[in-house]
Amino acid sequence: MGMEKNKKRPVYLNLFKIRLPVGGVVSILHRVTGVLLVLALPLSIYMLQRSLQDPAAFRDILARLGTPFGRFAILIVIWIFAQHFFSGIRHLLLDIDVGIDKSAARRNAWLTFAASLSVVLLTGICL
C-alpha cells in the first residue's frame, strides 16, 4: 500500500534539481576533476615522452608550454589537479574523523577552494 502511494519517488538523483551544500559541491568536483585528470593523461604522458627524447624535443615542449596558450593550459591543469588534491586530502581526513562535524566539514570544504586557488595564484606569479 505504501509502495503504491510512492510511485513518483525519484529513482535516481538528478544533480541539477538538488541544491547542494558546499561539501556536496566539493565532493562532486572531486569526481569531475578526477575524470578530467584521467582525460589529460594521454597528452601528459606524450609530453613527458617527448621531453625525455632528445634536446630538440625537450626545447620544443618547453617552447610550446611557454606560449600564452601553453601557460593558460598549465594554470587550468594545475587548478584541476590542486582542487582534486585538496578535496582528496579532505576526504582522507574525514576517513580518520578529522573535520567530521558539520561546521568543520563545511569550513574545510571552503578551504579546499582557497588552497587550490592559492596554488594557481602562486604558479601564475612564478610562470
Partner: protein
C-alpha cells in the same frame, strides 16, 4: 519488499577503498616531493632533466607513481560508472574501454621509463 541482491564477495569493496587511499597517499607524497625538488633546484636543459628523471631511485619512484595512478583511476572511474551508468551493457562496455585504455597508458609509461638512459 524485494529481496536484497547478493552483493558479491564481501571484501571487494574494502579492497577498493583501501587501494584508493594507499595510492592517493603515495601520489600525494610523490607530487609534493617532485614540486619541492624542482623548485629548490630547477632543471634548465635536457641532460639535467633526464638525469633528474632517471637518477637512481627516482625511476622506481616514477614506476610506483604510474602504478598508483592507474589503480587510483580505475577504482575512481569504476565507482563513478556504477553511480551514473545504469544499463548493464553500457556500464560493461565503458568499463572494458577504460580497462584497456588504462592498461595502454600503463604500458606506454613503462616504455618511457625503460627507454630513458640512466
Amino acid at each position: 519488499m524485494r529481496r536484497a541482491r547478493p552483493s558479491g564477495s564481501a571484501h571487494a569493496g574494502l579492497t577498493d577503498w583501501f587501494l584508493q587511499r594507499v595510492s592517493s597517499i603515495y601520489m600525494a607524497g610523490f607530487v609534493v616531493y617532485v614540486v619541492l625538488s624542482l623548485s629548490i633546484s630547477p632543471v634548465h636543459d635536457y641532460l639535467a632533466w633526464r638525469d633528474w628523471f632517471a637518477a637512481g631511485p627516482m625511476r622506481l619512484a616514477w614506476a610506483l607513481f604510474f602504478l598508483s595512478l592507474l589503480v587510483h583511476a580505475w577504482v575512481g572511474l569504476r565507482s563513478i560508472y556504477m553511480d551514473y551508468l545504469h544499463p548493464l551493457w553500457l556500464r560493461f562496455g565503458v568499463l572494458l574501454l577504460t580497462a584497456f585504455g588504462l592498461l595502454a597508458l600503463g604500458l606506454w609509461s613503462a616504455q618511457i621509463l625503460l627507454m630513458v638512459p640512466a
